[in-house]
């Protein structure tokens, strides 16, 4: 029986993610936990997060989960979601500059509120980027199995990742310029959108993650 640990560090409601994982694969054992051993023993790890990055990093450090995430990411499939994706980068400009986990080289920056870009309906860019937008995978990855080139996923965020190495960009989304809506490196796949709120395609992505066996 396969197990997945959803890391609970007090940042947001994790029931939706746990329920969606269970719905995506009823045979998997889903545990929402902050326990180091449970996380390290699970077959897969989901690292979610909602809120501000400084609070996120402080909570991880207080619970000593930062080291656990590093260890888990080296050993088994790890899915970062939203703030859980941003936290994988080196740093974020949110909260006046916040050091993050440094597992994927690069930084996290804010959307420019008004672009003055006439191509964007001559409207100001609304921040947060909230709602459904298309995700364009850049290269094959098992999590995209059965999902086409431009499926819709649900986003809520004001900051986005800028990986230093373009090979780490797993998918892009236009708002209005393309930004990295998914990043991947080794055992890690991380998405800026919320698969647990993205209806059938979101559940498909979660099911794909629960089946994914990274090559050693």
């Amino acid at each position: 029986m396969s197990t997945v640990a959803v890391i609970d560090y007090g940042m947001g409601n994790l029931h939706s993610i746990a329920k969606a994982l269970q719905h995506a694969d009823p045979s998997v054992i889903v545990t929402v936990t902050a326990d180091r051993e449970t996380i390290l023993q699970a077959d897969r790890v989901v690292f979610p997060g909602v809120g501000a990055i400084r609070d996120c990093m402080a909570a991880l450090q207080r619970l000593r989960l930062d080291a656990v995430i590093r260890e888990a990411a080296a050993e088994k499939p790890l899915l970062g979601i939203c703030l859980g994706m941003q936290a994988l980068l080196d740093s974020s400009e949110e909260n006046g500059g916040t050091p993050c986990l440094g597992l994927i080289p690069g930084r996290v920056v804010r959307f420019a509120e008004s672009t003055g870009n006439a191509s964007y309906s001559q409207q100001e860019l609304k921040v947060p980027h909230m709602g459904w937008n298309r995700v364009h995978p850049l290269h094959a990855h098992p999590v995209w199995d059965g999902l086409g080139r431009d499926r819709w996923f649900y986003f809520v965020h004001s900051y986005y990742a800028q990986p230093t190495d373009p090979r780490c960009i797993a998918a892009t989304t236009d708002y209005p310029e393309p930004f990295a809506s998914a990043v991947a490196k080794g055992n890690m796949i991380a998405v800026q959108f919320h698969p647990e709120k993205s209806q059938a395609d979101g559940l498909r992505l979660l099911a794909n993650f629960l089946r994914w066996q990274p090559e050693p």
């Binding site: 947001g12 029931h15 939706s16 719905h23 809120g51 609304k126 947060p128 819709w152 809520v156 647990e196």
Partner: protein
């Protein structure tokens, strides 16, 4: 590009959807879970539940409704009605809601919005504004409470800006002049507020046909449109609404 959203709204009284729902193949027209599932299948982008329960004791019922829906429907859920304390928000989010909509409490205690955004994040705080036209030259709208009966003296545009400053992540704008009329959104107030604040605007109040939904986006500059009766009475499905909007050049998730 970001899609414009269509949000069916369900009025819930003591755990049951009211104002009737006439889906032909639905067993129980009052069951929120069954109706939510149906809207989800039709392609609704989000769902809003408005708790119109009068008595405080029955509010617990809403928590159970949200729990049940969140276990089966994997799209964003917003709950409004009776959100007055931080603990009300915590309970709804823990039950599986993604956002809460704050209305009357924001008017009587604006600092509540600030506290809520600081505690839970702006992404889950929707401020609901009930606006009524109080002057035509120049056009002016005021915030009303008690279902549009009590004026507050607050200018609607200034109020929307203040709520965003306080941390509202979205504004749900209802025209009290149009609510229930089925003659279309008040496009002028929708556009005025959409252009005045940087966060998404959900237009509400007055939808009677699909052209009204398209007008809300194209002329009202709304980021999302909310409607109750046209979907409840199965005059149109959510999918038909989206196809109509797509045919008019509006980006929707189909």
């Amino acid at each position: 590009m970001l899609a414009k959203r269509i949000i069916p709204c369900l009025d819930v009284d003591n755990g049951r959807v009211v104002k009737g729902v006439r889906f032909v193949d639905i067993r129980d027209a009052g069951d929120p879970v069954e109706i939510a599932r149906r809207y989800d299948q039709e392609g609704a982008d989000e769902l809003t539940f408005l708790d119109i329960t009068a008595s405080h004791e029955n509010r617990d019922t809403m928590v159970h409704v949200v729990e049940q829906v969140a276990g089966e429907v994997f799209i964003p859920l917003t709950v409004g009605g009776g959100i007055r304390k931080l603990d009300d928000i915590r309970r709804m989010l823990n039950a599986g809601a993604d956002k809460v909509s704050i209305n009357t409490a924001a008017v009587f205690e604006p600092e509540f919005v600030k506290a809520a955004a600081e505690r839970f994040g702006s992404q889950c705080i929707v401020v609901a504004i009930d606006a009524k036209c109080v002057g035509t030259d120049p056009l002016r709208w005021e915030i009303f409470t008690h279902g549009g009966r009590k004026p507050t003296g607050l200018d609607a545009i200034e109020w929307a800006q203040r709520m965003v400053d306080y941390g509202a992540g979205e504004i749900l704008l209802t025209s009290m002049d149009r609510d229930g009329t089925r003659i279309g959104f008040d496009l002028a107030v929708t556009r005025a507020i959409s252009e005045a604040v940087p966060v998404p605007i959900i237009a509400s109040g007055g939808v009677g046909n699909l052209q009204h939904l398209a007008d809300g986006v194209l002329e009202g500059k709304a980021d999302a449109v909310l409607a109750a009766s046209i979907f409840h009475f199965a005059e149109y499905t959510v999918r038909e609404a989206k196809e109509f909007m797509a045919a008019r050049g509006i980006e929707v998730r189909l």
